[in-house]
Structure formats: structure tokens, C-alpha cells
Symmetry: C2
Subunit: 227 residues, 2 copies
């Protein structure tokens, strides 16, 4: 079984034959039939550093982390991708990063070669790909800026605000990832992440309703911290 097949303990819905119909309805029309759906269970690897980068992915549902593993055992997370995001673009033919499912995921995989030939016929595909590349670029830049910030508090505030943007009401944040994931994304330790959240709660800026549910009570205070 390959990494991209459904884990046996997670029933594969009979959607594969339907070719990502739901997902592509939200995406560009021209990509509708180009990809195939793939289900990935929580914690499973989607691709690994060093592999051949012959496909890229679009997230239908769930959360994906793209990360780098260092020789000393540390891990850095470059991005969390959610529904609508495209990831796995590579300039080289070899992967420079790994990707794993933070939660159970539905993805569409696109063959690079296939898309390239399609793009030659249809200019709107090229345009779409460019958009996705630019979105990834914008994210990577803002992530670099986030990591360059000094205090742990600044980082947490920025992180919570960016997560809230993805939320419907802009105040309720659902954390699909563990504290360790957050730590590896922010360049902190799990303990510092925990302490930062506790401190924010003690100051009345957030409420931790669940362990994975954060309610932002004072968005402006967070914005001041992240400034």
C-alpha cells in the first residue's frame, strides 16, 4: 500500500470514481477532470523529502502540514494547508519538503506532466497555477516574517490571528494541530506555546473553550501584540 492510499482503519468513501466532482466545483473549471481524489488518514505521510515531485495536490478537506526534518531530530513546519489550498509545487524534480496529514484529509492529486500539457492548450490553467504559486509565495513570506519576530507572545498572537482569518466569524479558532505542531511552526517549544496560551487566557485576551478551540475575546489586543 502506498502512502497515498487510505489507511485500512478509515473507510474509503466510494468517491474516487467520481473524480473530485465536489472539490473541483469550487476550483477552476478547467481543472475539473484533471486530478484524482485521494484520502489520507491522520498522521500519514503524503510525500517525503527526496521523492520524485511528479504530482501536486489540492486540499478538499482536512489539514495538511508541510515540513522539514533535520538530522538532529528537530522538525520545522513550513505551512498548514486547508481546503482550497494547493501544495506540493516544486521547482526541482525532487521534493525538498515532506507533507503529512494533520487530520484525515481528502486531496486531489494532479500529475505535473498532465497539467503542463493541459496548460499549453488552455491559458486559464496556467493563470490558475500562477495564482496558486503566488499564494504559496505570499504565505511563505509572511511565515518568514512571523519567524523573524522576537517574543513568543508576538508569534502566538500572529498565529492566532492568521488562523482566525480562516474562520467564519473571525473569532473562533479551531486548532486541527497539536501543540507540538504549533511549536514547530512558530520555532518555539511545546512548553512555551502552552505558557503563551495560558498567559493570553489569564489576561482575558482569549478563552480556551476546548483544548483545540480558542475564542478570541480581544482581537485588537492580539493585533497590538502582533504589530
Amino acid at each position: 500500500m502506498t502512502a497515498l492510499q487510505m489507511a485500512s482503519n478509515h473507510p474509503a468513501p466510494a468517491l474516487n470514481a467520481r473524480r473530485a466532482w465536489m472539490a473541483t466545483q469550487n476550483g477552476p473549471e478547467t481543472l475539473r477532470t484533471a486530478g484524482s481524489v485521494v484520502q489520507v488518514a491522520e498522521g500519514r505521510e503524503i510525500f517525503a523529502e527526496g521523492e520524485d515531485a511528479d504530482v501536486f495536490f489540492k486540499v478538499v478537506s482536512g489539514v495538511v502540514r508541510v515540513c522539514k526534518f533535520h538530522s538532529d531530530g528537530r522538525r520545522q513546519i513550513e505551512a498548514f494547508h486547508v481546503a482550497g489550498d494547493v501544495f506540493g509545487f516544486e521547482l526541482s524534480s525532487e521534493r525538498t519538503l515532506s507533507a503529512e496529514a494533520v487530520s484525515d484529509c481528502a486531496l486531489i492529486s494532479y500529475r505535473r506532466r498532465g497539467i503542463e500539457t493541459l496548460a499549453q492548450k488552455d491559458e486559464s490553467i496556467t493563470r490558475q497555477l500562477f495564482q496558486y504559486a503566488m499564494q504559496n509565495l505570499a504565505h511563505a513570506q509572511s511565515h518568514a516574517l512571523l519567524l523573524g519576530r522576537r517574543g513568543a507572545g508576538e508569534k502566538m498572537a500572529s498565529f492566532l490571528l492568521s488562523q482566525a482569518e480562516r474562520s467564519a466569524d473571525g473569532r473562533t479558532v479551531h486548532l486541527a494541530m497539536t501543540r507540538q505542531d504549533i511549536a514547530d511552526y512558530l520555532g518555539l517549544t511545546i512548553e512555551t506555546v502552552s505558557r503563551s496560551l495560558s498567559l493570553l487566557e489569564r489576561r482575558g485576551i482569549i478563552v480556551l473553550t476546548n483544548i483545540r478551540e480558542v475564542l478570541l475575546k480581544k482581537v485588537d489586543a492580539l493585533e497590538d501584540m502582533a504589530a
Copy 2:
């Protein structure tokens, strides 16, 4: 006088036309006549956050820093761009970052609208733009990974190695930028940058021939540190 014109105390060499020609010879044929050459003196602003992002640039010669200024006075440098690099791509119509000349620069500026219409006629331009976007993406990702690293030594080692890649022999690094620039790029202070370099020299890993010239004596030692 606009920020993009040559400072009066820096004589504009009579090379402008030829400079542009040489630059575009290395680049895509189709971009040859699309841009106009611009000279920027050391320290001058190329564009600023909030401005209209109607043009982007290709570096012909010199070094450019792309950076963000924070309300508290701190500065973060997102990238140093050298000859052949393209910078100033934006997803939105408004600049999210600023750009300044680290040294005297020759740039080619391209109008976004103009290029877009050109790209509709010539598919190879689109391809080129995509390549440049992906190069910027790859850089931003590796920069984020760099900033996520723990020790100051690791950061300096990574930085020196990445600078050496741009060098001819891969061992001699010419630092166009100040220590402050390096600090703002690595998320460190000027003192820590200085100390890291001194330590590397005391350990015989590098030699600081000039204040702005570094000779890498033990590349493998640096690679171990950066691992």
C-alpha cells in the same frame, strides 16, 4: 526626482542601453524589449509598502534588499536579490514589502499590465514568470527554514553557505550588505552576528580577509553546523 532615478552624485554610466541588452540576453528573449532600465543608488528606496504594485523588477547588477518595517522600529529583511533575480511580484495590487538598494543597482522594470498582455500572446513569457515566482517561493521557504533554526551559529553557517553558492569558486563570499542587514535577515542582532563571525574565525572555519570579504576554509564544518 523619483526614487528610481540615479542619484546625482553617482554618475550614470553610458552603459544603460548595453546593460539592459546584456541582462536580457541571459533572460527570456521575449522580455528583451518589454522593460526599461533604471539605476538606483546605494541606500535608495526602490518601492515602499503600501504603494501601488504596478511594476516588478529584474536585477542587472548590484544587490537589493526586500524588507518589512515594523511599528516598533525593527526591520526584517525577507531577501537579498542579485543579478538575474526578479523581485517585486505581488498577488495584491498593493505592496506588502519595501525594497531598497544595498549597493548601486541597475534594474529593469516591467509594467505588470504590459507583461500580462504580452503573456497572452506569448506562452513562453508566462512560463518565465512562473519560473521566477517559483524561484521566489523556493527562496522564501528556505528563508523561513533558516529563521526557524535555533542557534545563531546555525543561522550564520547557513547564510554563509547560501552566499557562497552565488560565488564563482564557492568559497569566497563578498558581503555587499552591512552587519545590520545580515542581522535583520537572520533575525539576530548586529552584536550576535559579529560574535558568530569572530567565533567561526577563531575556530579556523572562515577567514575575514576584509570586513566584507569572507573566505570559507572549512566548508564541511559549516555544512555540519547548518545541517
